[in-house]
Amino acid sequence: MAEPVLAIRDLRKSFGALKATDGVSIDLYPGEIHALIGPNGAGKSTLIHQICGTLRQDSGQIRLAGQEIGTRTVAERARLGLGRTFQISSLAGEFSALRNVMLAVQAGQGSSFRFFKPVMHDRALTEAAMERLERVGLAARAHVPASELSHGEKRQLEIAIALALDVKAFLLDEPMAGMGPEGSKVLTGFLDRLRQEAPILLVEHDMDAVFALADRISVLVYGRVIATGTVDEIRNDPAVRTAYLGDHA
């Protein structure tokens, strides 16, 4: 198999006596969607936070494209190609959708220290941003403030922002949460195509989406990976059935 894009090795994180991440190792390979599932409080979000740098691990390694990133800042990890989407919060809620994506294009170019040229006249920004909005089907809403977008549209905007960055690996924490069945279906189709941009580590409770999308699944319980495998292997794993899936499988 190819080299993993994202390699997590023996990661540990405790909150007091609680071992929220207890020796987790996960690989994310090129072109795959790797789903991370597990009951509430299993430590999925905590793991995502450590990968993107908003939480510091107690020990263990995180490598992105062969480079150790475990001690870098959030912004440095992002510049190295870690793309994360957020559940509810917008990048800049007061700005229009277009300006949000423009900011991401600007970040991708690494050029925020320019003081005089108005961004709205900067076609390198506006055109690149508009193109991303068209790809996620949000072009018609380009000039609406991000805070006034619907729930689903905010998710689309998040993806457009991710597309504007040169992402090597995506981290998506519950992208389907709060979306209606129709929205979930659209987003599922979209994520299916997104994996061609970069592999996705997907935290998701919506099992229909997980089974439809995932190439591999890891099951996290009490901070430990109790199983990793293909969809079929996980569905038929007795330990997983008792710990999490129950009647879902």
Binding site: A78, A92, L103, A107, F115, F116, V119
Partner: protein, 323 residues
Amino acid sequence: MKREDAINLVLLLALLATPFIAQAMGETFTVTLVTRITILALAAVGLNIALGLGGLVSFGHAAFFGIGGYAAGILASHAMSGEPMLFGFEGSNQMPVVWLAAAIAAGVVSLAIGAISLRTSGVYFIMITLAFAQMVYYFAISWPAYGGEDGLSIVLRNAFPGVNTMRPMEFFLVCFGVLLAALIFSALLRSSRFGAALQAVRQNEVRVASIGISPMPIRLTAFVLSAMITAVAGALYADLNRFVSPSMLSWHMSGELIVLIILGGTGRLMAPVAGAALFVVLEFWLGGITERWQFFLGLILLATVLFARGGVIGLLAGKERHG
């Protein structure tokens, strides 16, 4: 033209026209009053970059205002006495030199203050900037070489090439020119890439970091630029009064600048001008009627915060729209 642009233009023209009208009517004092508005507005244009665009509630900008004032006073006093100061430099009574010195001095100090205080946020940031400003204040008080508690007089206003700065009208025009330049800079800044990043950092710091823009350098740059502009205002203020004293460095001054911006409409381009005009007029009129004018100022401030978040500009031009 957008409505806000039109309002901004009208405000600027009114600011420019008032002294001419006043002088024609023989009201020279009004010229001085409008000059005071102009200089306070300039100081607030500086603070508005940190506070309005960056969301950095600096309660220590009096330090930079005062540093600018002392730069003007100290350079002028050495130019007058001929006594050399640091590195054998003999002082200067030329405004451009004074402004440059003010901006550089405030730039260096704000870099140090910012590098430390920007590690904190919220109330801690407010308190730590206040603490630094108080340190500068007490330093000035206990520094006898430049007047200590009594302050320092400037015998003749510093000079500007081709202008007689001792004439109120001409001095006003110099101040107005600097304000205009600062407003143009501020307008360009807010619509630039840097301005976009700065405003986004205010709105959602974590999210901005997650797309690869480090918040700290953005904030520090804004803080330093902001301090430099406020320092130039301080130099002009010292020239206006022909006097610098530690009161320019006091926390009242920091508070006043914040109040100006809130009254004008936090973050709006012309908030400093609208706020300074309202503040000085209130101070003058209410101050003439009652000694407790600040009580009424407090009520107006309260009403602004509770019912008119956008301040004067918000009332006139409506909610801000970003492209």
